[in-house]
Symmetry: C2
Subunit: 212 residues, 2 copies
């Protein structure tokens, strides 16, 4: 494995740019993101930045991909440390809300912002977002299915329905935490799922008695 100092430098610039782009996109939108703004924030020239992707759309697509990676690292991976079943479901919900509460992204949730921004704008970016959304939904449903398979949820539970409700509680927390009282929003998101899971799960010891 050769270490080319030139491409290493380029990689560093690219990654730093995409990380900044994810943050900026939740503030001014994925479309509102401008090369000049991003270049300023990074202290590099606009054209130098532009050369890395060749078009704004390519940069936007790369930004979406980077956001997916960050979601994987900061929300999904921590949740996977919990054992399969309702505990993992609960851990994912917690990790998601913790991520919002940590204010890593000013807008709360990159995907919710971008999805609403592009849900009426056909094109490659919308397609990429829809694909990521589909995978996220499928992942949620997988976790629910695992809980059913482990006997921690009744066999007749509507998997897609429960996954929908979990997602809904989380998205709304991202939304309300930025416009209304954040703590109230997080509390409702947590309490909502805890109530739901405790009502479904036959083993009460798998879940906390109350939200922290």
């Amino acid at each position: 494995m050769t270490v080319d100092g030139r491409v290493a430098r380029g990689d560093r610039t690219r990654t730093a740019a995409l990380d900044a782009a994810v943050v900026l996109a939740t503030e001014v939108g994925l479309h509102g993101l401008s090369l000049a703004q991003l270049a300023d924030a990074l202290g590099v020239s606009k054209s130098g930045l532009f050369a890395h992707w060749g078009s704004k759309e390519a940069l936007q697509l790369a930004t979406v991909d980077r956001a997916v990676e960050q979601q994987q690292e900061r929300i999904i991976r921590p949740a996977l440390r919990a054992p399969r079943g309702v505990r993992r479901l609960w851990a994912l919900h917690q990790a998601r809300i913790d991520f919002f509460a940590a204010r890593v992204l000013p807008g709360g949730c990159f995907f919710a912002s971008a999805d609403f921004e592009y849900n009426a704008r056909p094109g490659p970016i919308r397609d990429r977002l829809a694909e990521a959304f589909g995978r996220w939904t499928a992942f949620l449903e997988d976790l629910v299915r695992e809980a059913v398979a482990a006997g921690e949820l009744p066999a007749d539970v509507d998997v897609a329905q429960l996954a929908y409700e979990i997602d809904a509680l989380g998205i709304t927390a991202a939304m309300r935490s930025r416009l209304l009282d954040p703590d109230t929003a997080y509390r409702h998101a947590r309490q909502g799922l805890l109530n739901r899971l405790r009502a479904l799960c036959p083993d009460p010891t798998l879940l906390p008695e109350g939200i922290s």
Copy 2:
């Protein structure tokens, strides 16, 4: 009351412009909305349009207000025809989802789109949106409280919590109906609330047996 044909003409232009602005804002965003685009869509000149508000921000604020009126007319008013209690709660949820399904707005929900767009952009527009969001939340909680007062929901129900969950089911329907399968999204939003209310309401005859 004198009817001045000139100001009447101005009013007509203004209203038509705001209606178009609400639609356009759910496509390209409230910030992305441009005077030239709006003027083109209406067949008037950019400067003539501009003169009605004096600034873009004033136009944006007026657009938010118009969206509030439309929400009142198309979602809240129809729901208020149902009797107080769980039936009105259910009617509101239905009216909201019907509104999304009718594709009146390409983006689904003006407020969800605008709220995510501005939740990290301080300023008068964000303030106006937050105010409208607060009123909407308070309205939902009032409807829940009425249902409790009517004995159609248990007295110990967490009012704000239930209102949060109802809102969450609706917002997520707006989001998913544009990126994933619309009918599935509407079904989950409806089934979610129906399950919830049927579990809480002592009188099963007040609610439909299944979603339509």
